[in-house]
Subunit: 195 residues, 2 copies
DNA sequence: ACACTAAATCTAGCACTGATATATTTTCTG
DNA sequence: CAGAAAATATATCAGTGCTAGATTTAGTGT
């Protein structure tokens, strides 16, 4: 059965190759340029083979999005482990979030704009996304007795900053100051964990 | 020249009819259902007439978005004029923003997701959007010496709440509590206008 | 009132999209 | 080595935004 194993391995490789192709193409030319035909051309197979790997184009985008959640969770965890004091850690995590969104706009777009069926706190929530959210909850715990709710609002604020800045709605140069402002409001306005 | 005048009037009516058709169709079936052919069918003209009114589909969406900005500005202004104390007014404006986004999801999507070229603080910013932003700046002035920056962050937070809630990322039932939390953090964490 | 110009509108079509049914090749099995 | 089965490719479908050319409609000059 070694030959069938090899074929299975090659199929798995091609699976990953399709995801990588979609991600690279989106990052280079935007998601509009990601068509099934261009993906097939990059992978050097015919177009319909994509449908033997994925249920459709949306499934490919969703696979890219999950890769993004993994990396975002890692970036937030890394930022948290670096900063020492609670306030510094919070600032680092927020900064890492914004930096991630700015550095990989197409990836971030796949995670939050394109698919409509990935929730935060649900049974079918992708584990990486749960991990990223938990990271934010953890770093917010010192500042509120209800860190879950605070994490939702903070995530919303970070997401808003990221998307408005990327869309050009908000000038990019003030982004650091806005993060400082956001973090300050979280810190000083808190009810404290012991309340 | 009365006949040409009538034709001009009819053209203007058709212009508005196209925008209304796009908006209604998007609100009823989502923006994916808004195609040039379906719009032409609704307006009961051939498809290419759309291109004598607009530069393309994006221009139609942008026209809908600008209608949205007008109504959002009005809603925020109304909310501000109702509330008395600064804190109550702020809460009312934030609530009105979220309510607007929740009540007209497709319209809100046109305003913030689809077109990529509408800025907040720029020369070519649509006046209604400037007005809406100014409304937020005004209601935030009692709470910070730099209301512009605070308004950017607040808008980002509101936008994030709206879009995450709509996307199902965040459970809808806690939205009011999240607004309360956001407003509280803005109020108590402020540096004050006179500092 | 009629021919003629110009504007408005429509028909037909292009290149492209995501997706699928069918044909063809390749691989495994008896 | 023949036949079954899996994997891949060709050809095609309906639908998209958009546009060139034909056609109808309206306004003008005589």
């Amino acid at each position: 059965m070694s030959i069938t194993e090899r074929r299975h391995r090659e199929r798995a490789q091609r699976h990953d190759l399709i995801i990588a192709a979609a991600r690279n193409l989106a990052e280079a030319e935007g998601w509009d340029a990601v068509t099934t035909r261009r993906l097939a051309e990059i992978v050097e197979y015919s177009q319909p083979v994509l449908y033997s790997h994925f249920d459709g184009k949306d499934a490919i985008v969703r696979a890219v999005a999950i890769e993004g959640f993994v990396e975002l969770a890692a970036a937030m965890q890394h930022a948290r482990s670096q900063g020492g004091a609670p306030a510094a850690a919070l600032r680092a995590v927020c900064g890492a979030y914004i930096a991630f969104a700015a550095a990989r706009p197409a990836l971030y777009q796949a995670m939050f704009a394109l698919p409509v069926d990935v929730k935060f706190a649900s049974a079918e929530t992708p584990p990486p996304l749960q991990a990223a959210f938990a990271e934010l909850v953890g770093v917010l715990r010192p500042f509120d007795a209800q860190p879950d709710q605070l994490a939702e609002v903070t995530w919303a604020a970070l997401h808003g900053l990221a998307v408005l800045c990327r869309g050009g709605r908000i000038p990019p140069q003030g982004e650091d100051a806005r993060i400082d402002l956001l973090v300050n409001r979280i810190i000083v306005g808190g009810t404290g964990a012991g309340r």
